[in-house]
Protein backbone atom coordinates (compact mmCIF):
# COMPACT_ATOMS: atom_id res chain seq x y z
CA UNK A 1 0.00 0.00 0.00
CA UNK A 2 1.39 3.40 -0.98
CA UNK A 3 0.16 6.50 0.80
CA UNK A 4 1.40 9.90 -0.34
CA UNK A 5 0.95 12.13 2.70
CA UNK A 6 2.00 15.41 1.07
CA UNK A 7 -0.05 16.78 -1.79
CA UNK A 8 -2.12 19.72 -2.93
CA UNK A 9 -5.02 20.56 -5.19
CA UNK A 10 -5.26 23.87 -7.02
CA UNK A 11 -3.09 26.28 -8.99
CA UNK A 12 0.59 27.16 -8.61
CA UNK A 13 2.47 30.09 -10.05
CA UNK A 14 4.36 28.00 -12.59
CA UNK A 15 3.51 26.86 -16.12
CA UNK A 16 1.72 23.75 -14.93
CA UNK A 17 -1.75 22.32 -14.88
CA UNK A 18 -4.45 23.29 -12.38
CA UNK A 19 -4.96 19.92 -10.76
CA UNK A 20 -8.45 18.86 -9.75
CA UNK A 21 -9.42 15.88 -7.60
CA UNK A 22 -10.33 13.92 -10.72
CA UNK A 23 -6.91 14.57 -12.24
CA UNK A 24 -5.26 13.62 -8.97
CA UNK A 25 -7.16 10.30 -8.95
CA UNK A 26 -5.85 9.63 -12.46
CA UNK A 27 -2.28 10.42 -11.38
CA UNK A 28 -2.63 8.09 -8.40
CA UNK A 29 -3.71 5.27 -10.68
CA UNK A 30 -0.83 5.95 -13.12
CA UNK A 31 1.75 6.00 -10.34
CA UNK A 32 0.35 3.06 -8.38
CA UNK A 33 -0.35 5.20 -5.33
CA UNK A 34 -3.31 4.16 -3.20
CA UNK A 35 -4.03 7.31 -1.21
CA UNK A 36 -3.12 10.97 -1.31
CA UNK A 37 -3.45 13.51 1.49
CA UNK A 38 -3.83 17.06 0.21
CA UNK A 39 -4.20 20.67 1.25
CA UNK A 40 -5.66 23.46 -0.82
CA UNK A 41 -3.16 25.70 -2.63
CA UNK A 42 -5.83 28.40 -2.57
CA UNK A 43 -5.87 28.21 1.23
CA UNK A 44 -2.07 28.11 1.46
CA UNK A 45 -1.43 30.99 -0.90
CA UNK A 46 -4.47 33.15 -0.29
CA UNK A 47 -7.69 32.68 1.66
CA UNK A 48 -7.76 29.78 4.11
CA UNK A 49 -11.54 29.76 4.61
CA UNK A 50 -12.42 29.72 0.93
CA UNK A 51 -9.57 27.32 0.14
CA UNK A 52 -10.61 24.82 2.79
CA UNK A 53 -14.21 25.08 1.55
CA UNK A 54 -13.17 24.39 -2.04
CA UNK A 55 -11.10 21.42 -0.95
CA UNK A 56 -13.96 20.01 1.10
CA UNK A 57 -16.16 20.20 -1.97
CA UNK A 58 -13.54 18.60 -4.24
CA UNK A 59 -12.72 15.59 -2.06
CA UNK A 60 -16.16 14.95 -0.57
CA UNK A 61 -16.63 11.23 -0.02
CA UNK A 62 -13.40 10.22 -1.78
CA UNK A 63 -11.82 7.00 -0.54
CA UNK A 64 -8.43 7.81 -2.02
CA UNK A 65 -7.99 11.52 -1.40
CA UNK A 66 -8.20 12.95 2.10
CA UNK A 67 -7.61 16.50 3.21
CA UNK A 68 -5.65 18.68 5.59
CA UNK A 69 -7.40 21.76 6.95
CA UNK A 70 -5.05 24.70 6.32
CA UNK A 71 -4.45 26.86 9.40
CA UNK A 72 -2.82 30.28 9.21
CA UNK A 73 -1.18 31.55 12.41
CA UNK A 74 -1.68 35.12 11.21
CA UNK A 75 -5.37 34.45 11.84
CA UNK A 76 -5.56 32.31 14.98
CA UNK A 77 -9.26 32.89 15.65
CA UNK A 78 -10.26 32.18 12.07
CA UNK A 79 -8.04 29.10 12.09
CA UNK A 80 -9.66 27.78 15.27
CA UNK A 81 -13.07 28.24 13.64
CA UNK A 82 -11.84 26.29 10.62
CA UNK A 83 -10.69 23.48 12.89
CA UNK A 84 -14.11 23.40 14.52
CA UNK A 85 -15.92 23.54 11.18
CA UNK A 86 -14.20 20.41 9.84
CA UNK A 87 -13.70 18.57 13.15
CA UNK A 88 -16.27 15.88 12.36
CA UNK A 89 -15.76 15.80 8.61
CA UNK A 90 -14.26 12.39 7.79
CA UNK A 91 -12.68 13.75 4.62
CA UNK A 92 -10.21 15.77 6.69
CA UNK A 93 -7.55 13.85 8.58
CA UNK A 94 -5.12 16.53 9.77
CA UNK A 95 -3.88 20.10 9.51
CA UNK A 96 -1.38 21.94 7.34
CA UNK A 97 0.70 25.03 8.15
CA UNK A 98 3.25 26.66 5.85
CA UNK A 99 5.41 29.09 7.85
CA UNK A 100 7.34 30.35 4.84
CA UNK A 101 4.28 31.27 2.77
CA UNK A 102 2.52 32.78 5.80
CA UNK A 103 5.75 34.40 6.96
CA UNK A 104 4.93 33.23 10.44
CA UNK A 105 6.70 30.58 12.50
CA UNK A 106 4.85 27.99 14.53
CA UNK A 107 6.54 28.84 17.85
CA UNK A 108 5.04 32.35 18.13
CA UNK A 109 2.25 33.12 20.63
CA UNK A 110 -0.35 32.86 17.83
CA UNK A 111 1.19 29.63 16.59
CA UNK A 112 1.14 28.17 20.09
CA UNK A 113 -2.59 28.88 20.35
CA UNK A 114 -3.07 26.66 17.32
CA UNK A 115 -0.70 24.03 18.70
CA UNK A 116 -2.79 23.67 21.84
CA UNK A 117 -5.91 23.07 19.75
CA UNK A 118 -4.11 20.68 17.42
CA UNK A 119 -2.83 18.65 20.37
CA UNK A 120 -6.39 18.42 21.74
CA UNK A 121 -7.75 17.33 18.37
CA UNK A 122 -5.33 14.34 18.29
CA UNK A 123 -4.98 14.82 14.52
CA UNK A 124 -1.51 15.31 13.01
CA UNK A 125 -0.11 18.61 11.79
CA UNK A 126 1.90 18.61 8.56
CA UNK A 127 4.25 21.59 8.75
CA UNK A 128 6.43 22.77 5.87
CA UNK A 129 10.10 22.82 6.89
CA UNK A 130 13.21 23.80 4.97
CA UNK A 131 16.55 25.51 5.59
CA UNK A 132 15.75 29.16 6.35
CA UNK A 133 15.00 30.45 9.84
CA UNK A 134 11.34 30.95 8.91
CA UNK A 135 11.08 27.32 7.79
CA UNK A 136 13.46 25.55 10.14
CA UNK A 137 12.40 22.24 11.71
CA UNK A 138 13.66 23.66 15.02
CA UNK A 139 10.47 25.74 15.34
CA UNK A 140 8.59 22.62 16.46
CA UNK A 141 10.75 22.18 19.58
CA UNK A 142 8.73 24.56 21.75
CA UNK A 143 5.34 23.14 20.62
CA UNK A 144 6.52 19.57 21.26
CA UNK A 145 7.89 20.41 24.69
CA UNK A 146 4.74 22.33 25.60
CA UNK A 147 2.25 19.83 24.15
CA UNK A 148 3.94 16.39 24.19
CA UNK A 149 0.89 14.62 22.76
CA UNK A 150 0.86 16.83 19.66
CA UNK A 151 1.56 14.84 16.48
CA UNK A 152 3.79 16.73 14.06
CA UNK A 153 5.02 15.70 10.62
CA UNK A 154 7.99 17.63 9.26
CA UNK A 155 7.15 18.09 5.58
CA UNK A 156 10.39 17.88 3.55
CA UNK A 157 12.25 17.14 6.83
CA UNK A 158 14.17 20.38 6.50
CA UNK A 159 14.76 19.99 2.75
CA UNK A 160 18.49 19.93 2.07
CA UNK A 161 19.10 20.38 5.82
CA UNK A 162 17.61 17.11 6.99
CA UNK A 163 20.31 16.89 9.66
CA UNK A 164 18.28 19.54 11.54
CA UNK A 165 15.27 17.24 11.48
CA UNK A 166 17.40 14.35 12.64
CA UNK A 167 18.83 16.48 15.46
CA UNK A 168 15.38 16.78 17.05
CA UNK A 169 14.06 13.32 16.13
CA UNK A 170 14.49 11.97 19.64
CA UNK A 171 12.49 14.76 21.27
CA UNK A 172 9.17 12.99 20.90
CA UNK A 173 7.74 9.73 19.59
CA UNK A 174 5.01 11.94 18.11
CA UNK A 175 7.41 13.69 15.75
CA UNK A 176 7.45 12.31 12.19
CA UNK A 177 9.46 12.87 9.06
CA UNK A 178 8.34 13.18 5.43
CA UNK A 179 10.89 12.87 2.63
CA UNK A 180 9.99 14.89 -0.46
CA UNK A 181 12.17 17.68 -1.86
CA UNK A 182 13.91 18.88 -5.01
CA UNK A 183 16.90 17.24 -3.35
CA UNK A 184 16.37 13.55 -4.03
CA UNK A 185 19.53 12.27 -2.37
CA UNK A 186 18.77 8.67 -1.43
CA UNK A 187 20.96 8.99 1.64
CA UNK A 188 18.41 11.47 2.97
CA UNK A 189 15.88 8.66 3.38
CA UNK A 190 18.49 6.32 4.80
CA UNK A 191 19.71 8.97 7.27
CA UNK A 192 16.17 9.90 8.35
CA UNK A 193 15.35 6.27 9.05
CA UNK A 194 18.51 6.08 11.17
CA UNK A 195 17.49 9.25 13.04
CA UNK A 196 13.73 8.80 13.45
CA UNK A 197 13.58 5.02 13.31
CA UNK A 198 11.74 3.06 10.66
CA UNK A 199 8.31 3.72 12.19
CA UNK A 200 8.36 7.51 11.86
CA UNK A 201 9.42 8.28 8.30
CA UNK A 202 6.77 8.63 5.59
CA UNK A 203 6.50 8.98 1.85
CA UNK A 204 5.29 12.25 0.35
CA UNK A 205 5.63 13.88 -3.06
CA UNK A 206 4.41 17.50 -2.90
CA UNK A 207 1.98 16.63 -5.69
CA UNK A 208 0.74 18.71 -7.67
CA UNK A 209 3.75 20.96 -7.35
CA UNK A 210 5.81 17.86 -8.14
CA UNK A 211 5.03 14.84 -10.24
CA UNK A 212 4.70 11.94 -7.81
CA UNK A 213 7.11 9.94 -9.98
CA UNK A 214 9.97 12.19 -8.79
CA UNK A 215 9.67 11.21 -5.13
CA UNK A 216 8.77 7.63 -6.02
CA UNK A 217 12.10 7.46 -7.87
CA UNK A 218 13.94 8.69 -4.80
CA UNK A 219 12.29 6.03 -2.64
CA UNK A 220 12.96 3.37 -5.26
CA UNK A 221 16.71 4.05 -5.25
CA UNK A 222 17.07 4.11 -1.45
CA UNK A 223 18.79 1.13 0.12
CA UNK A 224 16.05 -0.16 2.43
CA UNK A 225 14.96 -3.49 3.85
CA UNK A 226 11.56 -4.75 2.66
CA UNK A 227 10.09 -3.87 6.07
CA UNK A 228 11.54 -0.36 6.04
CA UNK A 229 10.21 0.16 2.53
CA UNK A 230 6.72 -1.06 3.41
CA UNK A 231 6.58 1.19 6.44
CA UNK A 232 7.95 4.21 4.57
CA UNK A 233 5.63 3.88 1.62
CA UNK A 234 2.38 3.42 3.50
CA UNK A 235 2.21 1.48 6.73
CA UNK A 236 3.49 4.28 8.95
CA UNK A 237 0.99 6.71 7.46
CA UNK A 238 -1.83 4.18 7.71
CA UNK A 239 -1.10 3.72 11.39
CA UNK A 240 -0.75 7.43 12.13
CA UNK A 241 -3.91 8.46 10.26
CA UNK A 242 -5.92 5.36 11.20
CA UNK A 243 -6.23 3.81 7.73
CA UNK A 244 -5.94 0.06 7.08
CA UNK A 245 -2.31 -1.12 6.72
CA UNK A 246 -0.99 -3.42 3.99
CA UNK A 247 -0.93 -6.29 6.51
CA UNK A 248 -4.65 -5.98 7.22
Amino acid sequence: MIIDIHGHLGRWYFPTVDVTAMMAERALAENGVDMLLVSSSYALRYDLVEGNRRLAQSIRGSDRIKGYVVLNPNYPDLSLKEMEKYADNPDFVGFKIHPEIFHHRLDTPQGMVLCEAIAESKKPLLIHTFGSSMETPLQVVKPIETYPSMKIILAHSGGYDWNLANDIASLSPNLYSEICCTCTCVQKIENLIEGFGEDRVMFGSDFSLFDEAYSLGMAKDADLTPTQRRKLMGDNAAKLFGFCTSEE
Binding site: T184, L209, Y214, L216, D221
Partner: protein, 240 residues
Protein backbone atom coordinates in the same frame (compact mmCIF):
# COMPACT_ATOMS: atom_id res chain seq x y z
CA UNK B 1 19.59 0.40 -23.65
CA UNK B 2 22.12 3.21 -24.01
CA UNK B 3 21.81 5.63 -21.12
CA UNK B 4 23.87 8.82 -20.77
CA UNK B 5 24.05 10.66 -17.45
CA UNK B 6 25.75 14.04 -17.76
CA UNK B 7 26.21 14.65 -14.05
CA UNK B 8 27.76 12.22 -11.61
CA UNK B 9 30.20 13.38 -8.94
CA UNK B 10 32.62 11.54 -6.70
CA UNK B 11 35.05 12.34 -3.90
CA UNK B 12 34.49 13.69 -0.41
CA UNK B 13 31.34 15.63 0.51
CA UNK B 14 32.40 18.44 2.87
CA UNK B 15 29.07 20.31 3.12
CA UNK B 16 26.99 17.34 4.23
CA UNK B 17 27.95 13.99 5.68
CA UNK B 18 27.21 11.86 2.63
CA UNK B 19 28.87 8.93 0.92
CA UNK B 20 30.32 10.09 -2.39
CA UNK B 21 33.31 7.80 -2.92
CA UNK B 22 33.76 6.50 -6.42
CA UNK B 23 32.86 2.82 -5.75
CA UNK B 24 29.56 3.93 -4.18
CA UNK B 25 28.74 6.32 -7.03
CA UNK B 26 29.66 3.67 -9.56
CA UNK B 27 27.35 1.16 -7.84
CA UNK B 28 24.43 3.61 -8.07
CA UNK B 29 25.11 4.25 -11.77
CA UNK B 30 25.40 0.55 -12.55
CA UNK B 31 22.27 -0.31 -10.57
CA UNK B 32 20.32 2.17 -12.72
CA UNK B 33 21.73 0.93 -16.01
CA UNK B 34 23.71 4.06 -16.91
CA UNK B 35 26.10 3.24 -19.76
CA UNK B 36 27.88 6.60 -20.12
CA UNK B 37 28.53 8.91 -17.18
CA UNK B 38 30.18 12.33 -17.28
CA UNK B 39 32.14 12.28 -14.04
CA UNK B 40 32.97 15.32 -11.92
CA UNK B 41 35.56 15.51 -9.16
CA UNK B 42 34.45 17.06 -5.87
CA UNK B 43 38.11 17.81 -5.13
CA UNK B 44 38.14 19.94 -8.27
CA UNK B 45 35.01 21.75 -7.16
CA UNK B 46 35.87 22.31 -3.52
CA UNK B 47 39.65 22.48 -3.34
CA UNK B 48 41.94 22.37 -6.34
CA UNK B 49 40.61 22.23 -9.91
CA UNK B 50 43.98 21.12 -11.28
CA UNK B 51 44.34 18.17 -8.90
CA UNK B 52 40.67 17.26 -9.36
CA UNK B 53 41.03 17.27 -13.15
CA UNK B 54 44.06 14.97 -13.03
CA UNK B 55 42.32 12.59 -10.66
CA UNK B 56 39.09 12.41 -12.63
CA UNK B 57 41.03 11.55 -15.78
CA UNK B 58 42.74 8.61 -14.06
CA UNK B 59 39.52 7.42 -12.42
CA UNK B 60 37.75 7.46 -15.78
CA UNK B 61 40.62 5.67 -17.53
CA UNK B 62 40.93 3.00 -14.87
CA UNK B 63 37.22 2.29 -14.54
CA UNK B 64 35.69 2.57 -17.99
CA UNK B 65 34.73 -0.85 -19.25
CA UNK B 66 32.36 -2.54 -21.68
CA UNK B 67 29.34 -1.89 -19.48
CA UNK B 68 29.98 1.73 -18.54
CA UNK B 69 32.09 4.53 -19.99
CA UNK B 70 33.22 7.34 -17.72
CA UNK B 71 33.90 10.67 -19.42
CA UNK B 72 36.06 13.05 -17.37
CA UNK B 73 34.72 16.51 -16.64
CA UNK B 74 37.22 19.23 -15.81
CA UNK B 75 36.77 22.52 -14.08
CA UNK B 76 38.64 25.73 -13.33
CA UNK B 77 38.02 28.58 -10.95
CA UNK B 78 38.18 32.10 -12.44
CA UNK B 79 38.98 33.42 -8.97
CA UNK B 80 42.39 31.78 -9.29
CA UNK B 81 43.34 34.15 -12.12
CA UNK B 82 43.60 33.93 -15.86
CA UNK B 83 47.14 32.52 -15.99
CA UNK B 84 46.33 29.53 -13.80
CA UNK B 85 42.98 28.93 -15.52
CA UNK B 86 44.65 28.86 -18.93
CA UNK B 87 47.31 26.49 -17.65
CA UNK B 88 44.65 24.21 -16.11
CA UNK B 89 42.53 24.15 -19.24
CA UNK B 90 45.51 23.51 -21.52
CA UNK B 91 46.70 20.70 -19.26
CA UNK B 92 43.16 19.32 -19.17
CA UNK B 93 42.92 19.20 -22.95
CA UNK B 94 46.31 17.45 -23.06
CA UNK B 95 44.91 14.83 -20.68
CA UNK B 96 41.82 14.38 -22.82
CA UNK B 97 39.28 16.50 -20.94
CA UNK B 98 36.73 18.04 -23.29
CA UNK B 99 33.78 18.52 -20.95
CA UNK B 100 34.22 21.54 -18.67
CA UNK B 101 31.84 22.23 -15.81
CA UNK B 102 31.56 25.68 -14.28
CA UNK B 103 30.35 26.23 -10.72
CA UNK B 104 29.54 29.96 -10.47
CA UNK B 105 27.29 29.53 -7.44
CA UNK B 106 29.47 27.15 -5.44
CA UNK B 107 32.76 28.88 -6.31
CA UNK B 108 31.12 32.29 -6.02
CA UNK B 109 32.19 33.95 -9.24
CA UNK B 110 30.00 36.05 -11.51
CA UNK B 111 28.83 34.64 -14.83
CA UNK B 112 30.40 37.64 -16.56
CA UNK B 113 33.76 37.21 -14.83
CA UNK B 114 36.41 38.53 -17.27
CA UNK B 115 38.48 35.35 -16.99
CA UNK B 116 35.60 33.53 -18.70
CA UNK B 117 35.90 35.87 -21.71
CA UNK B 118 39.36 34.44 -22.28
CA UNK B 119 38.99 30.80 -21.23
CA UNK B 120 35.57 29.86 -22.62
CA UNK B 121 36.37 30.79 -26.25
CA UNK B 122 39.50 28.64 -25.91
CA UNK B 123 37.40 25.70 -24.75
CA UNK B 124 35.02 26.26 -27.65
CA UNK B 125 37.84 26.45 -30.21
CA UNK B 126 39.31 23.20 -28.91
CA UNK B 127 36.08 21.28 -29.40
CA UNK B 128 34.99 21.40 -25.77
CA UNK B 129 31.56 21.26 -24.17
CA UNK B 130 30.49 23.38 -21.21
CA UNK B 131 28.27 22.32 -18.32
CA UNK B 132 26.82 24.78 -15.86
CA UNK B 133 23.96 24.88 -13.37
CA UNK B 134 22.94 28.42 -12.55
CA UNK B 135 20.04 30.83 -12.88
CA UNK B 136 18.92 31.34 -16.50
CA UNK B 137 20.40 34.84 -16.78
CA UNK B 138 23.82 33.49 -15.76
CA UNK B 139 23.51 30.55 -18.16
CA UNK B 140 22.64 32.99 -20.95
CA UNK B 141 25.70 35.09 -20.16
CA UNK B 142 27.92 32.01 -20.27
CA UNK B 143 26.43 30.65 -23.50
CA UNK B 144 27.00 34.03 -25.15
CA UNK B 145 30.65 34.05 -24.08
CA UNK B 146 31.21 30.43 -25.14
CA UNK B 147 29.70 31.07 -28.59
CA UNK B 148 27.32 29.23 -30.91
CA UNK B 149 29.54 26.25 -31.65
CA UNK B 150 30.06 25.14 -28.08
CA UNK B 151 27.27 22.92 -26.67
CA UNK B 152 26.20 23.85 -23.17
CA UNK B 153 24.54 21.36 -20.84
CA UNK B 154 22.54 22.83 -17.99
CA UNK B 155 19.88 21.90 -15.46
CA UNK B 156 16.91 24.22 -15.57
CA UNK B 157 14.63 24.37 -12.59
CA UNK B 158 10.97 23.71 -13.17
CA UNK B 159 10.08 26.64 -10.90
CA UNK B 160 11.78 29.04 -13.31
CA UNK B 161 10.23 27.58 -16.48
CA UNK B 162 8.59 30.85 -17.51
CA UNK B 163 12.04 32.46 -17.53
CA UNK B 164 14.30 29.94 -19.25
CA UNK B 165 11.83 28.79 -21.89
CA UNK B 166 12.01 32.27 -23.47
CA UNK B 167 15.52 33.28 -22.45
CA UNK B 168 17.47 30.17 -23.44
CA UNK B 169 15.46 28.34 -26.09
CA UNK B 170 16.72 30.65 -28.90
CA UNK B 171 20.24 29.28 -28.32
CA UNK B 172 20.43 26.11 -30.39
CA UNK B 173 23.51 24.91 -28.53
CA UNK B 174 21.80 24.80 -25.09
CA UNK B 175 20.94 21.28 -23.95
CA UNK B 176 18.80 21.30 -20.80
CA UNK B 177 18.74 18.30 -18.54
CA UNK B 178 15.46 16.92 -17.24
CA UNK B 179 16.94 16.65 -13.72
CA UNK B 180 14.91 19.42 -12.09
CA UNK B 181 11.87 19.36 -14.36
CA UNK B 182 9.83 17.71 -11.65
CA UNK B 183 6.53 19.44 -12.25
CA UNK B 184 3.65 17.58 -13.81
CA UNK B 185 4.20 17.40 -17.57
CA UNK B 186 7.08 19.87 -17.32
CA UNK B 187 9.42 17.67 -19.38
CA UNK B 188 6.84 17.95 -22.18
CA UNK B 189 6.75 21.70 -21.63
CA UNK B 190 10.55 21.95 -21.90
CA UNK B 191 10.57 19.69 -24.98
CA UNK B 192 8.30 22.16 -26.76
CA UNK B 193 10.96 24.85 -26.37
CA UNK B 194 14.00 22.60 -26.76
CA UNK B 195 12.95 19.97 -29.30
CA UNK B 196 15.44 17.09 -29.44
CA UNK B 197 17.69 18.85 -26.95
CA UNK B 198 16.56 17.59 -23.54
CA UNK B 199 19.20 15.31 -22.05
CA UNK B 200 19.57 13.42 -18.80
CA UNK B 201 21.53 14.19 -15.67
CA UNK B 202 21.03 13.00 -12.12
CA UNK B 203 23.60 14.73 -9.89
CA UNK B 204 24.20 11.36 -8.30
CA UNK B 205 25.04 10.83 -5.40
CA UNK B 206 23.29 14.07 -4.39
CA UNK B 207 20.23 13.18 -6.47
CA UNK B 208 18.47 9.87 -7.12
CA UNK B 209 18.82 8.62 -10.69
CA UNK B 210 15.29 7.22 -10.65
CA UNK B 211 13.73 10.60 -9.82
CA UNK B 212 14.26 12.35 -13.18
CA UNK B 213 14.02 8.96 -14.87
CA UNK B 214 10.53 8.53 -13.46
CA UNK B 215 9.41 11.73 -15.17
CA UNK B 216 9.99 10.37 -18.67
CA UNK B 217 7.28 8.72 -20.76
CA UNK B 218 8.37 5.46 -22.37
CA UNK B 219 8.42 7.14 -25.80
CA UNK B 220 10.70 9.94 -24.49
CA UNK B 221 13.28 7.68 -22.91
CA UNK B 222 15.28 6.70 -25.97
CA UNK B 223 15.51 10.32 -27.12
CA UNK B 224 16.37 11.84 -23.76
CA UNK B 225 18.62 9.11 -22.44
CA UNK B 226 20.69 8.80 -25.59
CA UNK B 227 19.63 10.21 -28.96
CA UNK B 228 19.59 13.86 -27.88
CA UNK B 229 23.00 13.39 -26.25
CA UNK B 230 24.59 11.94 -29.38
CA UNK B 231 25.82 15.26 -30.89
CA UNK B 232 27.46 16.16 -27.58
CA UNK B 233 29.12 12.76 -27.31
CA UNK B 234 30.43 13.09 -30.85
CA UNK B 235 31.95 16.45 -29.99
CA UNK B 236 33.48 14.85 -26.92
CA UNK B 237 34.80 12.16 -29.27
CA UNK B 238 32.88 9.40 -27.52
CA UNK B 239 30.94 7.50 -30.16
CA UNK B 240 29.26 5.15 -27.77
Amino acid sequence: MKFVDFQASYGFSPKKALKADFPYVRSLLEKSGVTVAVLHSLEGLYYDPKAGNEDVVSVCRENSCKEITFIPSGTFNPLEGVERCLEIVQRGFDLGIRFWRLYPEQMRFAADHPVLNIVLPLIAENGGVVGVDAVPAAVETIVRIAGDECPLVTSLHYYDSANWCLRLSPYANVFPSCRLLHGIESVDYAAKYFPNRIVFSSDVPFGAISSPLGLLHPDQKKRILYENAAPILRRLKYDH
